[in-house]
């Protein structure tokens, strides 16, 4: 069993630990994951020392196992994040996040003249055309969205 101290915050019994989140991005991560929900307690650690990354953030979600598919979208802002599934205090599964080919609904198009920035009942869709650094293309207006555009959107949070 891994020593819980390594994670710097109180261990969870059952649930998910998202580790190696880019420092100071934990709040954005939980926003993207639409957490906390009613059922799950969420613990956040920010700017924790990391031998691999210098410093990192950690998010722990008690009582909910996130499948890698539903977490992949956080790769937009935390490309090195790892997902640990915990059962009875033990890590039973470990995986990395992979940016999906399409991002739905999370982002707003930076083009003010895009149809998605109106009152029309339309969801945003972006296809990932470049992964490192990330470049997206709006499905509707075909404009390019860069890493800077993405980060600007999460700044307000």
């Amino acid at each position: 069993m891994k020593t819980p101290k390594e994670l710097k915050v109180k261990p969870i019994r059952n649930g998910t630990v998202i580790d190696h989140i880019t420092a100071n991005k934990a709040l954005n991560v939980i926003k993207i994951l639409e957490l906390p929900s009613e059922k799950s307690a969420v613990t956040i650690a920010m700017n924790v020392h990391s031998s691999k990354m210098g410093s990192k953030d950690i998010v722990k979600i008690e009582g909910r196992e996130l499948k890698s598919g539903e977490v992949d979208k956080i790769a937009l802002i935390a490309p090195n994040a790892t997902i640990n599934i915990v059962r009875e205090y033990e890590i039973v599964d470990k995986s990395e996040v992979h940016l999906p080919d399409e991002i739905k609904n999370i982002l707003e198009c930076p083009n003010p003249n895009c149809i998605t920035n109106t009152d029309e009942p339309v969801e945003t869709r972006f296809s990932v055309i470049e992964k490192e650094p990330v470049i997206l293309r709006c499905y509707h207006c075909e404009r390019i969205m860069t890493k800077e555009d993405i980060e600007a959107q999460f700044k307000l949070f």
């Binding site: 895009c114 149809i115 029309e120 009942p121 339309v122 207006c141 075909e142």
Partner: protein, 310 residues
Amino acid sequence: MVVNHQKDIISIKDLSKKDIDYILKVAEKMEPIARSKKRSTVLGGKMLGMLFYEPSTRTRISFETAMKRLGGSTIGFLEAGVSSATKGENLHDTAKIISEYADAIVIRHNMEGAARYVADSVDVPVINAGDGAGQHPTQTLLDLYTMKRIVGKTKDLHVSLVGDLKYGRTVHSLAYALAMFGVDMSFISPRELRMPKDVLHDLSKLGVSVEETENINSVLDKSDVLYVTRIQKERFPDPEEYSKIKDAYMIDLKLLKGTDLIVMHPLPRVNEIAYEVDNTPYGRYFEQAFYGVPVRMAILDLLIKNSEEI
């Protein structure tokens, strides 16, 4: 569509080279009908819904002519001012209602992505007739058709795009389509109005060689086509700067003398092509505008007939 099972024509990027070739081939068959030398009723009883949220007389008349030459008719509104569009009904609901009446929809809208959105919202085929600064694929197709008809080829061409290459949406899609056909291009523009980087990036991926220059004289000898676009005064804060550039890119007979190229323009022109060019073998922009009719006939025929087969 028949070739690629496309329901709609929204962006030139949705079409393969094979799709484009097919549309141009059908357009050729449509030409005698467009010129009133033959009659057709292939779309008899069919209805084209026109959603023109922005005035664009030339595009609208071209589509209307195409539909009527094939025996069909048109419904819809031509400017937001005469419809519920101003009373706050959203685009989604308006398009839904028209789609219940019409066999296909043509939409012109001031917002980018509007046509894609409508295409996803309705079951009938949708044709994008211009969405803001976005796409206008039938313009690109008629440009290609014009080159094919007049120069006689879409291979081994050299096309020079002149003018506002930054904001002019027609040149972006045209450059992309030409690159699909492996056509080498020269881009001639003032420094401030150069082809955007993401367009250049797309072109380099398609493996064609492009040259960027500010000097129009340097490309005349190698060009088969000079595709001219308007440089808008508003792009230049300094009126003196604008007038210098305007003169440097003015196309007149003195410039064209001794060359073996054709001049195209998406129209309307303001003063970038001298009137003296109009009735010479160089000036082909009115012919180009006419070719919009057979090309749109081909598209309407392919899309509407296809919807019958499903």
